[in-house]
C-alpha cells in the first residue's frame, strides 16, 4: 500500500528542521567541553628580595622603618632529604612550629621583617611553605635572601 504523500513530506520536514538544531547543540557541547578549563587556577605570591647576609657586596637600602627591628631570619635546610628550619638560629621541628613562632612574633609586631634564607639544595616548595606561613600569620614584610653573585 502506498503511504500518503502528505504524511511522508511532513516527516521529512520535521527531520530537516531538527538537524541544524542538533548540529548546533553538538557544536556548543563540544565547545564548552573543550573550553572547560582543565588547567588549575594560578595565584601569585608577591615577593621581596634582600641580599643574603655575608654574600652581598653592596647592600640594598632598606626602608627606614625596617631598620628599627631586628629581622627574624628563617634558615631552611635539607637534612637526610627532609627540610629543617632554624628561626633565628633556634631549630624548629616542623613547618607548623615555624608558623607558631611567627604567629607569636606577629602578635607583638607585624611590621617586623622576616627574611627567608634557604640553603641552595632546598626545593622551592619548602621555601614557599615558609613564605606562605609568614604571610598567613600576618607578617607584612617577608623577604627572600638571594646571593649577590650566583654560585
Amino acid at each position: 500500500m502506498r503511504i500518503p504523500s502528505h504524511f511522508s513530506n511532513r516527516s521529512d520536514g520535521h527531520d530537516s528542521k531538527m538537524t541544524p538544531m542538533i548540529d548546533v547543540v553538538f557544536l556548543l557541547l563540544v565547545f564548552f567541553v573543550w573550553t572547560a578549563s582543565f588547567q588549575e587556577i594560578e595565584y601569585v605570591l608577591p615577593a621581596e628580595l634582600t641580599p643574603s647576609a655575608g654574600t652581598t657586596s653592596e647592600p640594598v637600602n632598606p626602608a627606614p622603618e625596617q631598620q628599627d627591628f631586628d629581622p627574624v631570619v628563617i634558615i631552611v635546610q635539607m637534612r637526610n632529604g627532609q627540610p629543617s628550619w632554624l628561626v633565628n638560629d633556634a631549630p624548629a621541628s616542623s613547618i607548623e612550629r615555624v608558623r607558631q613562632t611567627l604567629a607569636t612574633v606577629a602578635q607583638l609586631q607585624q611590621e617586623i621583617p622576616v627574611i627567608v634564607d634557604p640553603h641552595e639544595d632546598v626545593p622551592l616548595g619548602h621555601v614557599i611553605d615558609v613564605y606562605d606561613a609568614a604571610r598567613l600569620v600576618g607578617c607584612s614584610k617577608v623577604q627572600f635572601a638571594a646571593p649577590e653573585k650566583p654560585s
Binding site: 548546533v24 563540544v30 594560578e42 601569585v44 608577591p46 641552595e120 626545593p123 613564605y131 606562605d132
Partner: protein, 128 residues
C-alpha cells in the same frame, strides 16, 4: 539560512577555541608550589616578564632556554624599554632547588627589579 548559520557558528567556535589555545600556549605546564596566601593575579597594564624554571633547572623565557647572563640582559633591556618598574613572574617547579631560583632573584635585584611574584597553586587545588 541554515547552512549559513552552521558556518557562522563553526567560525565563531574556531576563533574562540584557537584564542583559548593561544592563551594556553604561553603557560608552560609546571607543578607549581602550593600556598594558601596566594593572591588572585591582577591584570596590570605594566610590563610583565614570566620566567619559567623547569624541574631540571632550565630557565625559560617564553619558549627559549636562557642562561642567567642572557636573562639579566633581557631584564635590563625590558626595564629600559618600559621606562618604569616591570614585574617578573616566576613560575617554578616545586621540586627545583633554590640554587636554580636564587640566581634569577639576584639578577632581578641587580637590574633593580623588586616587583617579583611567584606563581602558586592553592593548597586545596594543587595537583599531586
Amino acid at each position: 539560512m541554515t547552512p549559513m548559520i552552521d558556518i557562522v557558528f563553526l567560525l565563531i567556535i574556531f576563533f574562540l577555541v584557537s584564542s583559548h589555545l593561544a592563551k594556553q600556549e604561553s603557560l608552560l605546564p609546571l607543578p607549581l608550589p602550593s600556598a594558601d596566601s596566594g593572591d588572585t593575579p591582577q591584570n596590570s597594564l605594566g610590563t610583565r616578564i614570566t620566567v619559567n624554571v623547569t624541574a631540571g633547572g632550565e630557565l625559560r623565557l617564553g619558549s627559549n632556554v636562557v642562561g642567567v647572563d642572557e636573562l639579566e640582559r633581557r631584564l635590563k633591556h625590558e626595564t629600559t624599554r618600559a621606562g618604569q618598574d616591570i614585574e617578573v613572574r616566576l613560575r617554578t617547579d616545586r621540586s627545583v632547588s633554590y640554587r636554580h631560583v636564587s640566581p634569577v632573584l639576584a639578577a632581578c635585584a641587580r637590574t633593580g627589579i623588586w616587583n617579583i611574584t611567584f606563581s602558586v597553586f592553592r593548597s586545596t587545588e594543587a595537583p599531586r
